[in-house]
């Protein structure tokens, strides 16, 4: 009887620990339940890395190498920059929807100091975390607007060359940032040759992925997909212009940007992963709209394509 009791106590004490357990090499620097999410900042003292995470350890929102905080730690953030090769000119006006640890805007402004950058981030605690733990700094050219991404896009009068949608947490995607209506609002904020880039995580091919392809395809004339090698990320690049960019021109442009702006990631290699969205289009997938967008259910359902 006593043994059973002890076992029970042991189970009860071990169980909750497991969910939040840190590796022996990790230490917790900060945690908070903000208005929108649980935020934790964790440092790996062996790997010398620092991350910002939500509940689950496998879903990391962003992070840095402590020895090289200006490098891009994650493949999807690196891969996102391939989209610059679709712009004929250097981007002047840039909008990030979602800040995370601030790695992408920081990396971008280091290479394009002349660009004007707006960042829409809903959670002011996330902004504070990016500043305090991830060396993110605002300046006169780079401003954070604490606002829902969709509301910011609807309200702003400005037009952008490059819009980066990175407001999807892996385990929770706000449906109103996935719909055709939203993408049309985004498109209306793009200059004539502007582009939008987003990161879609699809560990197994799920219905959400299929629907996103069809929804982007409906909102924009062309969609290009870049697949992650190390991760389950897909980078979607959609253009406002109806002129199609072929693989050669994208690769050539990537090569030029790479040397002109001194990228320390291999943009040309990323560009070589160029795929037209036709490869992924599946007519059976439903376009997501404000009226119909079961995003969180679709993430857990296997694709019916093929």
């Amino acid at each position: 009887m006593l043994r059973i009791f002890c076992l029970l106590v042991l189970c009860l004490t071990l169980f909750p620990l497991q969910g939040f357990a840190l590796e022996p090499s990790e230490k917790l620097l900060f945690e908070k339940n903000s208005l929108y999410q649980y935020i934790s900042v964790i440092e790996d003292t062996v790997k010398k890395e620092r991350y910002v995470r939500n509940q689950k350890r496998e879903y990391t929102q962003g992070g840095i190498y402590l020895d090289a905080p200006d490098k891009l730690r994650f493949e999807f953030t690196q891969l996102g920059f391939v989209s610059l090769a679709f712009l004929d000119k250097d981007p002047k006006d840039v909008l990030f929807v979602g800040l995370g640890a601030g790695a992408m805007p920081k990396y971008f402004t280091a290479r394009y100091p002349e660009a004007i950058v707006d960042i829409a981030e809903i959670d002011s605690d996330m902004v504070a975390v990016a500043q305090k733990y991830f060396y993110f700094k605002e300046n006169e050219k780079m401003k954070v607007h604490v606002d829902d991404g969709r509301l910011f896009v609807k309200r702003t009068k400005k037009k952008y060359d490059w819009i980066i949608l990175d407001a999807y947490q892996n385990d929770y995607i706000p449906f109103h940032l996935t719909t055709l209506e939203f993408l049309k609002e985004v498109k209306s904020r793009l200059k004539d040759n502007g582009i939008v880039v987003t990161n879609i995580t699809s560990p197994f091919r799920n219905k959400f992925f299929d629907s996103m392809v069809m929804t982007y395809k409906k909102a924009f004339p062309h969609l290009y997909v870049f697949k992650g090698k190390k991760s389950a990320n897909f980078i979607f690049v959609a253009t406002a212009s109806s002129i199609i960019k072929d693989k050669d021109s994208v690769e050539a442009r990537a090569r030029k940007i790479q040397s002109d702006r001194k990228f320390d990631i291999d943009l040309e290699d990323f560009a070589s992963r160029y795929e037209l969205s036709e490869v992924y289009e599946w007519k059976g997938a439903k376009v997501l709209t404000d009226d119909f967008a079961p995003v969180n259910l679709y993430q857990h359902q296997k694709s019916k394509a093929q």
């Binding site: 208005l35 706000p174 449906f175 259910l297």
Partner: protein, 196 residues
């Protein structure tokens, strides 16, 4: 029949509330302020409805009148897509801030239907109470049915319906369901004396 009506009305209140979050998101996001507004407006509507329903129930209650009480939100829900976008867009443009905008939008869109759905509970209680001797049992059963309906409405909507049909179609469907319930009720003469 009346038990079924109470169950369905309970289900529709919560199903409508879940769908309400989808209605508000494009203009107001899905922040805690939006949920707070939505929940408080529904509760305000229900509490006003309970109060009014109690008073109405003391003035010659009949199933015919109950039917009219149910038809009103039925019509509001059936025509919901015709006015909801215009109203939310207008409030979005007015921009009263992250708290007041969703609160106002929720009040305009959801308060009146939830008042009517709130009236149903005390009104049906009055119709079904046959003797003071068993009134506790009757009221308890109606409370339970209504809340059980709400649970089913919440789960079925958030787990399944949202993936099956569009928000507007679902809200119109709820309107049709309410009207379909109200019509037979109008021609019935349900009261305690008959049922006994």
């Amino acid at each position: 029949m009346i038990k079924f009506v109470v169950f369905i009305c309970g289900a529709i209140v919560m199903s409508f509330e879940i769908l309400g979050s989808r209605v508000l998101a494009p203009n107001f996001g899905s922040s805690v302020f939006v949920w707070g507004s939505l929940i408080s407006v529904f509760l305000a509507g229900l509490s006003a409805g309970y109060y009014l329903g109690g008073r109405l129930a003391d003035i010659n209650p009949s199933s015919r009148k109950l039917s009219l009480i149910i038809i009103a939100p039925g019509l509001l829900l059936l025509t919901f897509p015709m006015y909801s976008t215009a109203i939310s867009d207008w409030i979005f443009i007015k921009d009263l801030g992250v708290r007041m905008s969703p609160l106002l939008a929720s009040s305009v869109l959801f308060l009146v239907p939830s008042v009517f759905l709130g009236i149903v509970s005390p009104y049906t209680a009055k119709l079904m109470i046959c003797s003071l001797h068993t009134s506790g049992k009757t009221i308890g059963m109606l409370y339970a049915l209504s809340t059980f309906g709400s649970i089913i409405g919440t789960l079925v909507t958030s787990f399944y319906l949202i993936a099956i049909a569009g928000t507007n179609a679902l809200i119109m469907g709820q309107g049709i369901l309410l009207i379909a319930l109200a019509i037979p009720l109008y021609f019935m003469n349900l009261s305690c004396t008959i049922e006994k």
